[in-house]
Structure formats: C-alpha cells, structure tokens
Symmetry: C2
Subunit: 202 residues, 2 copies
C-alpha cells in the first residue's frame, strides 16, 4: 500500500467519475460513498431525504442565493443559518466520519476540500469531452438525446455552484487535485489503473 | 505496450516536468527531446541557435507583439512571416519528424498541439504548488532565493505566451491533456509511475 487511505473523486457530469470510483473501490475492496452522504445528512437534520434531494436539485447559481437567504424555517432548527449551510455542515460531518472509519472512495460533495487537512487523501478530478459525455448520458443514464446537452450543462452548473458556495473556490481547478484524468481520451479502465497505481504506491 | 508511442509533457516552470519525462524515457528506453527541437529548428532556418534562444528568452506577452511585427529581416528569409511564426513552423517540422522516427518523450514546444492529429500521443501536464517549485528552482536549478518567485512567474509567463501565440489556446487547460499530475503532491516518482501505467496499458 502507498501513503493513501482515501480516494476523493470530483467529476464533470457524465464523465464516468462514479463508475471509475466504483471500480477503484471494488479493486481495493473498500466502500464507496456518494448518495449515502446526502441521506445521512438528512437523517442528522431530521428532514426527509427527498426534501434534501429537492433542494440540491435546485442548486444552480441563481437559486443558491435564494436558498441561502430563505427557507431556514423549513428545517425547523432555527439556527439562523441558511438551508444550504446547514446541509453542508451535516454533510461535512458525515464525510469526516466515513474517512475516520477507514479506507474508502468518496465521490462528490466537495470531499477533497472537506478532508483537505488529511495527508492520506488522493484527490482526483475526472473530466471528458462533450461528445463522450453525451454518449454516456444517453446510453448509460437514459437521457433524452434532445435534452442531453442542456442536461449536461445544468448538472455541471449545479456541481460548480455547490462547490463554489461551500468552499468559496472555483470548481474543477487542477490545482486542487493530485491528478486530473481525461476519461474521454483514456477510457474508464485506464483511469482506474492510474488511480490504483498511485494509491497503491507501485 | 498500450495504445501510445509518444509522450508529450507540458509543464509549469520548476515542477519537475523534464525530470519526470527523462525518467519515463529511461524506463521505456526511448529518447527524450527538448532543447534539440530548438537547435534543429535553428539549423533549418540557418540561424545561430543562440539567436533563437535569445528570441525565446524574450518571449513574454509584451514582447511577442513586437517580435511578430518586426525583425523578420534578421532571419534573412524574406517570407513576410514573423520571426516567431517561422521559428514555430520549423519547430513543428522537427517535432513531427521526431514523432515519425518512433517512440519518444517530447517536453514542451506545444508538442501536444503539434501532434494533435496523432492518436498515439499520451499528453501530460505537470504542475505543482509554488512552495515545491521554489524549493526545486533553488536546490536543483541554482536560482537565487531572492529572485526565485519572480523567476518562476517570468518563466511561466513565457511558456504561457509561447503556447498561446502558437496555438491560439490558453496554456495549461486540463481539457487539452489526457492527464494532469500535481508533482508537488504526488512526487516525481509517482508521476513517472502513473505515466508508465497509462503508456504501457497495464
């Protein structure tokens, strides 16, 4: 084993980041966390995970300001913090707990930033050209070809806004990652191999 | 062997890109080309390599316009093209010839862009945090600590201008590369391992 125990993966929509993460987790026989983070954060806040999912669904740049300025009362906690802030704090705790439990792969949720003080995180960004992402979105996610480009743009915008609001940093800057892999050029399996090589220190 | 026969490496100043390239070339027992490209381009243009080096030394954003608009006569070719344009065309030919001769590593000179129509190029960008680069510049290149930050900025600016003028593209955008490696976080040897893993298709 190398110097790492955690892999964080941030990714453009339909670049195959989650599939790459799952293959890495399978190869290393360690858990992968993605949607669990949202559902456990919802549990912490005693709200319906569907409500959280709805809020996140709306998280585009234009909506974040509205969310931040209102709706606090819907969580019924009365801390004076915005919904998105409370959610992110809960998600941070969940991520930190997962990381403390042992080796794992964490996909999304600004995990690279949340765990930035740990030295044992291999932080990866996955990206791909639009053509590859369109094909994946249509073939693997069942997106209607008529809306595929707008779906990609909308999801990237949401991820970018989520990252920016919660970290005050720009999304996808290579400087925040140990390696950035172009899955459109390399293919999923080569991305997995590169991550495993670095993680295992071979 | 994988699907690649060429590795191109673009890199921030003092990020260890050339050392990484040399170690990859040594491991694969293939040649590395860097300064040879400039000297062979000078030979093609029948000018002194030192004159070319001087022109390149001046290649910052502010100087490029002047270079582009003048000095054509100094090459004595009279094509009406700017010095930088003639130089780049000659360098492109040299790079393409090297690539045709067989497997190799090419460092710098927009090789990723020059060889963009070949499918057998693994295009890599190496970057690192400022602290790591300062240490390398002082320790390995003998840069005076008082000037190390300005030296790094000046060299990055020159590389950026060279790339931008010759390709009309922004320097260091991850989208132009198959993988981007943070040598400050990963270390030189891990970067070499990741490149070899992808090149060899293991």
């Amino acid at each position: 084993m190398g110097n790492y125990s955690i892999v964080t993966i941030e990714r453009e929509y339909a670049s195959g980041g989650k599939e790459i993460g799952q293959k890495v987790a399978d190869a290393l026989q360690i858990p992968l966390y993605n949607n669990e983070i949202v559902s456990m954060a919802a549990q912490k806040l005693h709200v319906d995970p569907e409500y959280v999912a709805h809020i996140e669904e709306q998280m585009t740049g234009s909506m974040l300001f509205n969310l931040a300025m209102s709706a606090t009362s819907q969580l019924g906690i009365g801390t004076g913090r915005s919904v998105s802030d409370q959610l992110f704090r809960a998600e941070c705790e969940v991520i930190q707990n997962f990381a403390q439990q042992g080796s794992c792969v964490i996909v999304g949720r600004c995990a690279d930033h949340v765990l930035r003080n740990r030295k044992d995180c291999l932080n990866v960004f996955i990206y791909a050209d639009l053509k590859t992402r369109k094909e994946r979105a249509i073939r693997q996610y069942g997106v209607d070809p008529s809306y595929v480009e707008s779906t990609i743009k909308k999801n990237d915008k949401r991820r970018s806004a989520y990252y920016n609001v919660n970290t005050s940093l720009a999304w996808g800057k290579k400087e925040f990652y140990d390696l950035c892999l172009n899955s459109g050029q390399l293919g999923v399996d080569s991305c997995v191999s590169a991550i495993l090589t670095l993680f295992q220190g071979t």
